[in-house]
Symmetry: C2
Subunit: 402 residues, 2 copies
C-alpha cells in the first residue's frame, strides 16, 4: 500500500496513548473511575422517546429529521443555543454565527482545518485533554504547554509563550478542566480574551462542562469578554443532553463562520438531523431546566462522595482538587508513586479491580511529568461503588508506600 | 485575525462552485431538477418512529442510543453492512473492517486524512462529483482527470495517467455515476482493481447509488475483484435509508482500518448513536426488502418519465444518458448553448422557474469543458412536475436555438 500521509505519523504518539489509556477500561468487572462518560441515569431516554414519537410524522418533523439538512445546522437548534445556552451566560450571539457540529471535538477539528498549517504552534494547558492533542498532532501542529495553577492557565506564562512562539491558537478548557477539574478565574478569563485580541491569536475556548456546576458561582465564558472576534467558543451537548448524539456547536465571527461552512461541508456535509430535531424539541418543550437540576443533583452527590472518600482512604500527603462541577478530580500522590504502574496493578489485582486514568498521558512535555498524578472520574459510578472503589484504591496506594 | 491555513485557500474555487450551484436551489416556487436529494416519499418515517418508540427504553437500547459509542461504529450495524449489503454483492468482509462514518462523504474525507499530503495527486473521472473535489482540494491534493465514455472511466487513459502522475488515490463512482448516471462496465471494474494492486495506488470506490437500480443487471463492485487491499469501498445509507441521518461506511483492510480508527477519533470520536441503532434495527427487523422495492419502483417511474420528457421536449441533437439507477441523467445540448447562462434564465424567468445543475462545475479541467451540459435530477420531483418542468425547460432551450 502507498505510504500514509505525514499527519498519520505525527499523531501516532497521542493516538497510542488514547488507545492504551482508554482501551482496556470497559471490563464490566471493574469499578471504573477512568472514562469521562456521563451517568446513564443522566440520559433523557424517556424524553427522547416521547419527542421522537410525537414529531416523527410527515405532518410534523419527520421529513426534516430524515432528509438532508443545512450545513450550519438545524435553524431552531441554533436559536436554542443562542437563547437558552449563550444569553444566560452573558453572550450576545446571532444564530447565523452558530455552527452545529457532530460533537464538541468536531468543533476543535474544524478550527484546526481553518487555521493550522504544519508546524504552526498551539499553546495548551499543562496538563491538557489528550484527545485534543491528538487532533492538534493530526494537523501537524507543534503543541507548547502553558503552566496552570489552581486558578487555571497562568496568564503571565501565557503572554510570555505567545511572544516567544507566535502561536495560531491558544487552547483553553476554562471550566472544570479536563483532567484537573480546575476553573479559570474571572480575572484570567478577561485577560485571555484581551491577549487574543492584542497579539492576534485565536483563543479556542472549549467549555463542555460549564453547565454542570454543583457549587460556587457562575463565571462568564472568555467569549463574553471578546471584543474583536479572536475568541471562538466550542461547546457540546454531551454533558447536558447526550454524548452519543454527537451534538456540539461553535460560536464564531461572521468571517470565521463563513469558513467553517466550507470546512464542515468538506468534512461530512452537515450534522445528523434526527438528533438535532430531538435536541431542539428537548429545549423548546421546556424539558431542560428540570433535567438540568436532576443531573446536577446526581453528580453533586457523586462528587461529594468521591472527595470524602479520597480524603478518608487515600494516604496523607495526597493532593486533590475540589471541582465545583464537571466529572473529574485530579489527585497527586505522595512518595514518588508512579500511577502508570499503579494502574496495571489496580486493574489486574482481583482484590482491587479499580480503574482511573494515569496522569502522564495528559502532559505533552513527557519526561515523567505527572507520573504521580491520576484523573479520577466520578460521573458514571454510583455513590455506593465510589465508596467501595475508592477504599480499595486507597488501600492499594497506601500499601505501596509502606 | 490570523491568516487562514493554506488548505482554506486551496479549496476556495470548488467551495465557491458548490455555494453558487446549490445555494439558490431551495426556492419553493421552482421545479428543481437541481439537488441530489432522495424523494421525501422514500424516507422511512413511520418505520423510524415505530423502531424508536420500541427501543428507546432503559431495558432495551435507550442507553446505547444516547451514551458514548465505539469509534468504529455500532457492532450490529457493522454486522448488517457485512451480511445485508456486502455479501449479496459478492464481497466477503469482516465486521472488524467496517468503519461507520457520518455519511458517505466523511469516508472520502477520512481516506484523504490517511493518505494525502499537500501536492499528492488524485485521479478523478471527467466529469466528477464536485463535493469530493472540494474535499480533495481541502487536503491540497492535485486533481487530474481521466477520460470517461458511456462505460465509465476509460482504463487505458487511467493506466497512462497512473504512470505519468504517480497518484496516491484514484477516485471512482462506478455505478450510476454522479453527475452523468453512467455505469462502469464489469471488464473495467476488474481492470481498475488490478491497476490499483499493480501500481500500488489506492482505488477509492464511492458507490452510494448502487443499491437503487431500476433496470439492467447487477455488477459486482470493484472491491469484489481486489486481491491486495488496494481498493477501499466507501458507501452511504443516504439513498437506501435516510440522508439526514448521515450514515455511511468504509470497508478497508486491517492496516487501513487501524488508521481509520485514529482519523475518525480525531475527527468526531464516533458517529451519532441514535441513527445507528435505528438503522441497524431497520435491517434486523426485516424492513429493508419491502422499503427497497418501494423506493426502486418510485424512482423507476420518475426516471422513465424524465427520459420520455427529455426525448419529447428537448431539441433535436440533445444527447442524454439512460441511467439504470441512481438519481441523475446528464444532457449535452446542441448549438453551442451555455448551460450556466441558461440556468440564470431558467430559474429567474417567471414562465419557466426550473432549476438544474450547469455542467461546467463538474469538470476540474475548466476552460469551458461541459458548458453545454446539465445534470438533471429526477429523484425528488413527482412525475407530474417532471412533465411540467421538462416541458418548460425544453421550450426555453428550443427558443434559444431559434
Amino acid at each position: 500500500m502507498p505510504n500514509f500521509a505525514e499527519r498519520m505519523k505525527a499523531m501516532e504518539k497521542s493516538a497510542g496513548i488514547i488507545r492504551n489509556l482508554f482501551g482496556a477500561m470497559n471490563d464490566p468487572s471493574l469499578i471504573s473511575f477512568g472514562g469521562g462518560a456521563p451517568a446513564k441515569e443522566a440520559l433523557p431516554i424517556d424524553i427522547v422517546r416521547e419527542i421522537s414519537n410525537d414529531v416523527m410524522t410527515v405532518g410534523k418533523r419527520g421529513v426534516e429529521a430524515l432528509q438532508y439538512g443545512s450545513v450550519m445546522g438545524l435553524p431552531d437548534l441554533r436559536e436554542v443555543v443562542v437563547s437558552e445556552l449563550l444569553a444566560p451566560k452573558g453572550i450576545d450571539a446571532k444564530a447565523e454565527n452558530i455552527l452545529v457540529t457532530s460533537g464538541g471535538l468536531e468543533g476543535i477539528n474544524l478550527l484546526c482545518q481553518l487555521y493550522i498549517d504544519p508546524g504552526d504552534v498551539i499553546l495548551v494547558e499543562s496538563p491538557t485533554f489528550v484527545h485534543c492533542v491528538e487532533i492538534f498532532e493530526m494537523f501537524q501542529a507543534k503543541c507548547i504547554s502553558v503552566v496552570m495553577d489552581d486558578n487555571g492557565m497562568v496568564t503571565e506564562d501565557l503572554e510570555e509563550k505567545i511572544r516567544q512562539y507566535n502561536p495560531k491558537i491558544v487552547y483553553v478548557i476554562p471550566t472544570f478542566h479536563n483532567p484537573t477539574g480546575r476553573t479559570l478565574s474571572l480575572e484570567r478569563r478577561k485577560r485571555i480574551a484581551e491577549l487574543g485580541s492584542r497579539y492576534d491569536v485565536v483563543i479556542l475556548e472549549d467549555d463542555p462542562y460549564r453547565d454542570i456546576r454543583y457549587s460556587g458561582s457562575e463565571l462568564k465564558p472568555i467569549k463574553a469578554f471578546d471584543k474583536t472576534g479572536h475568541t471562538v467558543l466550542a461547546n457540546s451537548f454531551s454533558k447536558i443532553f447526550s454524548p452519543g448524539s454527537r451534538l456540539g456547536y461553535v460560536l464564531a465571527s461572521d468571517e470565521v463562520s463563513a469558513k467553517l461552512f466550507d470546512a464542515k461541508t468538506a468534512t461530512n456535509s452537515h450534522t445528523s438531523m434526527l438528533p438535532q430535531v430531538i435536541c431542539a424539541e428537548f429545549f423548546k418543550r421546556g424539558y431542560y431546566p428540570a433535567h438540568h437540576k436532576m443531573i446536577c443533583d446526581l453528580y453533586r452527590e457523586r462528587r461529594d462522595t468521591m472527595i470524602e472518600c479520597i480524603d478518608r482512604f487515600f494516604p496523607e500527603g495526597t493532593k486533590r482538587t475540589f471541582p465545583d462541577g464537571g466529572l473529574f478530580t485530579w489527585a497527586e500522590l505522595p512518595g514518588g508513586l508512579n500511577t502508570t504502574d499503579l494502574l496495571v496493578e489496580a486493574t489486574s489485582n482481583p482484590a482491587v479491580k479499580v480503574a482511573f486514568v494515569a496522569g502522564e498521558g495528559f502532559f505533552i512535555e513527557g519526561g515523567g511529568m505527572g507520573n504521580n498524578c491520576m484523573r479520577i472520574s466520578f460521573g458514571s459510578v454510583t455513590p455506593e461503588k465510589i465508596r467501595i472503589g475508592a477504599e480499595k484504591l486507597g488501600r492499594l496506594i497506601r500499601s505501596r508506600l509502606e
